[in-house]
Symmetry: C2
Subunit: 356 residues, 2 copies
DNA sequence: GACTGGCACTCCGAGTTGCCGAGTGCCAGG
DNA sequence: CCTGGCACTCGGCAACTCGGAGTGCCAGTC
């Protein structure tokens, strides 16, 4: 009866908003469906259960709430969560000790793989959800230097340092053999010639050089080119593009108390392609993003929520950090956490870059 | 009544052995408790269910079998599995394609962390259990060379190559600053001076050198020593000492169909200390080892089995490879798998060592 | 017109009962 | 020593009951 719609039709009555807000909060903390009676007893409304029932019925009609079954309380829908996050949520400040933990741990690492691994573990630990860190590609990665070290007869370790301080290393096996001195020379040559270029550009340039006349006669140059190409070649897909940590945190969540859903979820986490797709989509926008339920189709079952944020320098995002958990999670706590970690990573990377 | 014991009292009648064998095999493949009727119908015995019941009752009295409840079939006990493995099991040959897979994958990797990570994934995939690879310590690790590469103002990547071909690298942060040339010199000096020594020995020697008069006056030598010590210092606990892979394979095992046991198991896998203890114990003996149920106390619940083997050169085992799964697993398949992978790893390491 | 108490209705879940089938132990006979 | 037969036990399934929780709606009150 009582139409609780704004004149615009897309906004809720302030009372309805309060009710929705309270329901989300209560449901997140208890996991139960929320009844009119428990709302009334919460003391936040001076209303009887019957009145609240009217409001709730309206919210249900509008698609913000739903009933698991006839004689149960109400639970927020995707849409309910979405409205909550967009209009009702008050992000808490990140507690100081979490800030400290993040700063401390981040400052102690240097290699990129280490940092990303750490970040995902950190996220998982602090959020008690699954932590995700995604590094999409290194092709736009500009280099500062490239060094080659002899490791065995025809195995050479190649160390690439990015202008952003990121360090990548890999071992290449070459048919050619090199002496230490040759490698030293090559290191210097490449570092000087190619500093500031992206891996992609370097690769193209090296390939072009193969075709040039001069290269044919200079055997040293030939060797340099061959080694350079091999070094740049498949550095791109770093061993793990996607760092996932803390899948076991799912175990304690009540939404996974039955083994079937749990299994499905784990198997879904196994095949990372879908997650990569989802995260890649996040890469285009910057700032914090929250995906709820069917907004991201991770595992057909739409019981999940994702909080993510890009990191990297302002105009060139490097990748994504985020968490994945059940739809019913404390977004007001997760949001600042992910946001801060993203900032910390970005800062770290920028610092390393300036540092020389 | 019919005492089916050998004169020695510790051996079983040949019929009893056959029955036990069949029960283990059937139970492993089906997961069900085995009834006298199904044994009789298997066709391996020309006996009626009633006769088999007598044998089974004896086996139960002797502790090789047990009944989950009165009107259920029998299931092997720890002791039953132990007897099966020691006396009844015929190890199958490893199928050729698995041999090929292992050889191929192993031959494509070089860095130690890569190899170990790969091995654990490989084990998990081929066994459909949890794969474990453990590298206990690098202190007895003898080096062939040590190189230093400037990565940023005061960050230096240090690459240690072992005489066994193992490559370890880490980044050290130093208060001192070095030029490329200095680092080159230091690399050569250390590689020449210390080749063939263990990290432990190198460390001791460097520390001793600090105290010598000469060092006080030679600033280059001072720098060398400082850097050397930092490089050697905490290379020991490599980031992950224990590689665990495939915990999710537990999900599909019927013994973990209830969420509680599953949860306990995952949490137990989280804290790796206990596993490290167990594996360390395996290090002293060489050859394949199988631990069943209460023989290793992983997770108080004694439902697990471990198949493990040391790898490394003959007189100096480097670590352990193995799998962990429910007690009910195909030991006859797991044993050759773990064994072969252990051999492959050892061979790989030896080859790398010779190769120059 | 907004709020409230009351009442009938629905549905879940826990507990109870009864029953069937599977499997055993034991005994007596071949 | 083996076997068929019989009585016994137990787990699991299905049907049923019943109380509790929660809703929707209606009529009454301020």
């Amino acid at each position: 009866m009582t139409a609780r719609l704004d004149i615009h039709g897309d906004e809720l009555d302030s009372r309805a908003r309060e009710v929705l807000r309270e329901i989300v909060i209560q449901h997140v903390s208890t996991g139960e469906a929320i009844s009119s009676r428990s709302l009334s007893k919460s003391g936040r409304f001076n209303l009887s259960p019957a009145s609240l029932r009217n409001v709730m019925a309206d919210l249900e009609d509008l698609g913000y709430l739903q009933q698991p079954h006839t004689s149960a309380g109400r639970v927020p829908t995707d849409r309910g969560y979405r409205f909550f996050i967009d209009h009702l949520m008050k992000s808490r400040r990140l507690p100081q000790h979490e800030i400290d933990t993040i700063n401390e741990e981040v400052s102690h690492t240097t290699e990129i793989e280490e940092v990303l691994g750490l970040a995902s573990r950190l996220l998982s630990r602090l959020s008690d959800q699954v932590g995700m860190v995604f590094m999409p590609t290194l092709l736009q990665f500009t280099i500062r230097s490239m060094d080659f070290v002899l490791v065995a007869e025809n195995k050479i370790m190649c160390i690439i340092v990015g202008t952003n301080g990121v360090v990548v290393n890999k071992i290449v096996e070459s048919r050619l053999s090199f002496t230490r001195d040759e490698l030293d020379k090559i290191s210097r040559y490449i570092s000087v010639e190619f500093a500031g270029l992206t891996l992609d550009a370097i690769r193209r340039r090296l390939v072009r050089m193969t075709e040039q006349e001069r290269a044919l006669h200079d055997s040293m140059l030939q060797k340099t080119i061959a080694l350079g190409i091999e070094a740049v070649d498949d550095v791109t897909p770093v061993n793990h593009e996607l760092y996932l940590e803390g899948a076991e945190s799912m175990l304690t969540k009540r939404e996974f108390s039955d083994a079937g859903a749990l299994r499905k979820t784990f198997l879904a986490l196994q095949e990372k392609e879908k997650l990569v797709d989802i995260l890649n989509a996040c890469l285009v926008e910057d700032g914090l993003q929250i995906l709820i339920g069917s907004e991201s189709d991770f595992t057909n079952i739409h019981n999940f929520g994702i909080v993510a944020r890009s990191y990297g320098t302002h105009n060139a995002p490097l990748g994504i950090v985020g968490i994945l958990g059940p739809m019913r999670m404390e977004y007001s706590r997760m949001a600042p956490l992910v946001d801060y970690l993203g900032r910390a990573l970005s800062r770290k990377i920028e610092e390393e870059g300036e540092q020389r």
